[in-house]
Symmetry: C2
């Protein structure tokens, strides 16, 4: 209710979009970062003619409805990004604005402003308290994203009570420190002209993003106004009835909208949007004639969302003779082979480029070079992931890089990429305690189960160059969800038996026979270790490489049984927690607790990750008459 006035002003006067074609590429992007206020957004979508019917509003937060308690991108027409976890929407908006800047720099031509829309974000106090929004906003200021407008519902109320319990900073001053333009509007409840004027100024402001602080009253107009009781709970029938009466509406009617209102938004929003798109379509027609190749590419990326026809032929291929490096090196080389043919693959690192090996042949994306495809995200993992959800929503395929350990710094955004069917490729290097000297503060031991348990996310841990290439290909083809590439700091030799093509099976035998009595199953850097251990153990041992357990779980029971036979002793080896591996093996070799700060050789010995140690575990299990299931 507190943001109804600004929503009304925005939709009726400033926001450009077309309800009959909600995918129009040059529409403004609207993001509701304070997603708990989505009843307002659903109402606006309904009133302005999107595919949100009165029956959808009536089934708000009911099973099977398209109107869940927080907006979900893949569920509802007109919703650009999935929001609700606070702060994400602001960062998504930064990503959308970066996507728009990049698209404009790449495709616009003199007289052909194919991309010149705005990104408009609503947010509340909570969004601005979250670190993810701070990270993204700092970067937005640095990048001078003047196509971004954040409208802050400054209602001085949070769930615990008044904001002066915990949030007394000067928000506009903070945003000015980030390099933003700021506008403060005192009369957010009633002064429609002031609101409109602020939005108008913000839309035309050059060289900086704009924050509009709007002083509003939560639950404005009702008797519970300005209390935190309005935050999550319904108003109640009596309060609602009083409110309707005060607003000159029939208190007895629910879900009732007069034709006047529908017509008003039809004329002020829908008709305006259609007109704008018609003009844009006409321009795009001329653009197609003058720049046919660019028009085709624009269409491919943003409308068809299809990868270039022959992109896969260019992906680097490895053999046993290829130069040996760490899988992070292979990952970088493969990335470079793909970026050279897939222009929509863009990304960067959270200030670990030299370690992540993610640089490629492009310029940096900066305020002076929006055509650049490499992002310097700074040390801002959560912001990076959330921004990239925005980039992906715009139509790009973003990759993001840091140490695997720091994927949990930004998990709030990672899970939203999975939940909202967004393709983001997480290039996570230094994927085990064998990163060595940095020590346990930087060593992931507990995150593999998190990633593997996350629905709609694929976790790859390739063993060598071939598997790294195979994993990258699958990550590129996984258009409906994120993929994590876990890559090593240390060298991983190219193995006999690995196969880029077989990564899609999730796990497959690279050594030994189907009737081997012992099966070593490993991922990543531990696969070569198992090959070495197997050599010490003799013929009856098979080695299975398992670059992606989620894909293995999707295979037929017959295939799974052929890889991990019921009557073999199965021992898993992964330099991580063993949690979850009981689903695949009879005995688990892993890291029992935290790692340690030491050179890799010392760590290998201490934690039993040498060929001798692995072979001994297997021999001992056999000698103890390990209960092999028949």
């Amino acid at each position: 209710m507190g943001m109804a006035p600004v929503a009304h002003v925005l939709w009726s006067r400033h926001l450009n979009g077309n309800p009959t074609d909600s995918a129009w590429t040059n529409r403004d992007r609207f993001v509701l970062s304070n997603g708990h206020a989505c009843a307002l957004q659903y109402c606006m979508l309904h009133l302005t003619g999107y595919k949100v019917g009165m029956e959808d509003l009536q089934s708000f937060r009911q099973l099977g409805s398209i109107t869940p308690g927080h907006p979900e991108k893949h569920m509802t027409d007109g919703i650009e990004v999935t929001t609700g976890p606070l702060g994400q929407g602001i960062a998504n908006g930064v990503g959308l604005a970066m996507g728009a800047k990049h698209a404009a720099a790449t495709f616009n031509e003199d007289g052909f402003p194919l991309v010149d829309h705005k990104v408009i974000v609503f947010c509340g106090d909570g969004c601005l308290q979250e670190g993810v929004s701070s990270e993204a906003s700092s970067l937005a200021g640095h990048l001078k994203l003047d196509n971004l407008i954040v409208i802050y519902d400054d209602n001085s109320i949070t769930i615990d009570g008044p904001t002066d319990l915990s949030f007394t900073e000067d928000v506009p001053a903070r945003y000015r420190a980030y390099g933003w333009n700021t506008i403060e509007v005192q009369g957010g409840d009633l002064d429609l002209e002031a609101i409109s004027g602020a939005i108008k100024v913000a839309r035309s402001h050059v060289g900086q993003p704009t924050l509009i602080s709007l002083k509003t009253t939560i639950g404005y107009g009702c008797s519970k106004a300005n209390t935190h009781g309005v935050h999550g709970a319904p108003l109640g029938d009596a309060v609602l009835a009083d409110f309707k009466t005060a607003m000159g509406m029939d208190a007895a009617k629910k879900f009732d909208v007069s034709d006047n209102v529908y017509n008003f938004y039809k004329n002020s929003f829908a008709a305006r949007g259609q007109e704008m798109q018609d003009a844009w379509n006409e321009m795009f027609g001329r653009y197609q004639s003058q720049f046919p190749e660019k028009a085709k590419e624009f269409n491919r990326i943003f409308n068809l969302k299809a990868l270039p026809a022959d992109w896969k032929a260019n992906v680097l291929k490895y053999s046993e003779e290829s130069k040996i490096g760490a899988t992070r090196n292979y990952g970088g080389d493969v990335l470079r082979s793909i970026t050279s043919v897939v222009p929509e693959l863009i990304g960067g690192s959270a200030d670990l480029t030299p370690s992540n090996k993610t640089n490629f042949d492009t310029t940096d994306f900066q305020a002076t070079s929006y055509e650049g495809r490499y992002f310097r995200f700074g040390v801002r993992e959560h912001g990076m992931f959330a921004i990239s959800n925005g980039l992906a929503s715009y139509g790009y395929i973003p990759f993001t890089a840091t140490f695997l350990n720091f994927i949990t710094y930004g998990w709030g955004a990672v899970r939203l990429s999975a939940l909202s069917h967004i393709q983001q490729i997480f290039v996570m290097t230094h994927d085990s305690i064998f990163l060595g000297e940095d020590g346990p503060t930087h060593q992931p031991v507990e995150v593999m189960p998190l990633m593997r348990a996350c629905p709609n996310l694929l976790t790859f841990r390739p063993a060598d160059g071939k598997e790294t290439a195979g994993a990258w290909i699958l990550a590129m083809e996984n258009r409906g969800g994120p993929s994590v590439l876990c890559l090593s700091r240390q060298k991983c030799p190219h193995l006999t038996g690995t196969d880029a093509e077989k990564v899609k099976m999730g796990a497959y035998r690279i050594l030994g026979d189907a009737d081997a009595k012992v099966v070593l199953i490993a991922t990543g850097s531990e696969v070569s270790l198992c090959v070495e251990a197997a050599a010490k153990l003799g013929d009856s041992v098979a080695v299975v490489s398992a670059p992606c357990l989620e894909l293995f779980d999707q295979q037929s029971a017959a295939y799974q049984a052929s890889v991990l036979p019921a009557n073999a002793l199965k021992v898993s080896v992964e330099a991580s927690t063993t949690y979850g591996w009981k689903g695949y093996s009879d005995h688990q070799i892993g890291i029992p607790a935290w790692g340690a700060s030491a050179p890799i050789k010392s760590l290998r010995e201490k934690f039993g990750f040498t060929a001798d140690a692995v072979a001994k575990v297997v021999s001992d299990l056999a000698a103890q008459g390990f209960n092999i299931k028949k």
Copy 2:
């Protein structure tokens, strides 16, 4: 090297501590937030007489050394908190400063400033880019923590290159917007008097925390100065030799310190610290005479770290006749029964107090009421957890509350509490998709495996009031690590057979016999569901409640086999991912992917969490002749 001048000035002139008693309660707390610079900290600890020997410096980042690649609290004398993951140290410092303010408000008396020390944090660009530091700094400004000084090594270099790649905001202006005092020192490399003057001003500044921005040169004085190559890589012998020569040192000598230097720091730091502690000890002696009870309590909390002798007698007890609520209600009631007798139990919520039920009988901790024990953290989960690591390091037992889903917003700090043996109690309500209407953006489905896989962290999901009380007791007694309490939004009846005492076994049978053919194993709200299902299935079914799988894993094999017999059909039921449950059960009932936004009843039916649905799964498995292992 860039921070050596300020370290020299700080230790020799301003920092108060006693190397012969590094646990002295009124010492200044020093935190190295940019933990990768720990070689400097280890050197200062060595030079000033802490238990860091020359041989420890020589085994920097080697296995078994006390000088790991990033500082670890429990490993090295004089290290206050474990840092390295960027931004954490600033937030830890805020927590230490809050702890000091609370201790001062609680224990100081006229003429007895038992607690009047400062908290001094070093940080770099990376720390200031991370959202966790933004969250904590905003709160520090709000709380007017004038005992906190952050010294920012503004060297304009990050790993990717110059900071102008991604970080051009006006940091001091941002901190002023948070309500901080800021001081800028241009000559951070050479101007020792300017540095010293700034620290002096900061120490005496009243009513605000202070940020000192120090312009420095990374690798100052060596030929690689001012390049990002100095960030992580060693300088190399030649560069180092040149540097030593330029500094008037013998280039051939390594790990060589003259007695002059030792004596200098002995006199300027150690002797001063001893003198201060002597004076403090004398004061504390008089305090003991005048305020014997308070002195005893001070000693108990900060030195003995022992819980009050009879605290447990006060913990709320439940029976089958107790009033029925959600486990979040039980959690709140138990919390209140403990806070009334354990004054060091302090905490708060990330703006979800009414939902988390964590309020108790105290005032809020605010700038005007530091004696308050309830924290209004704002919507700042990561900051809250990291701040609370600081509070715990100070000697308190902090609890922190939000929805379970948002534990991953702050996992970076959660894992550090586990790694650094810090007691923090995470009160995580709304622990499954049955939170209902808020929908999948707020529903945890993937986090149970993360918590269970995390070393040195206990994950409790109690079934009813008795188990909630039992879990709270164990969390309080788990002084060397964190505990998570996963609590429901929905009602959970008190069950026959549950037992607060038995929670410590991790899992135990609450219904049925040891020779039951079918065992249903469940956690939290699903335990009562299994009891209902068992009633439909008849006598041959047992129900196991598993409030803490980590504790169950620690029991003897014989006990484990008695609870989960090898020859029974074991079916696990948890409203979460089934990932990991194969280690405990033959068949898993869980949430296959994401949840949905709907009332709980609809969700129960859709996802098969009704007694009928569970009973049917078991019947079907039996009918299919499920392969029960003999």
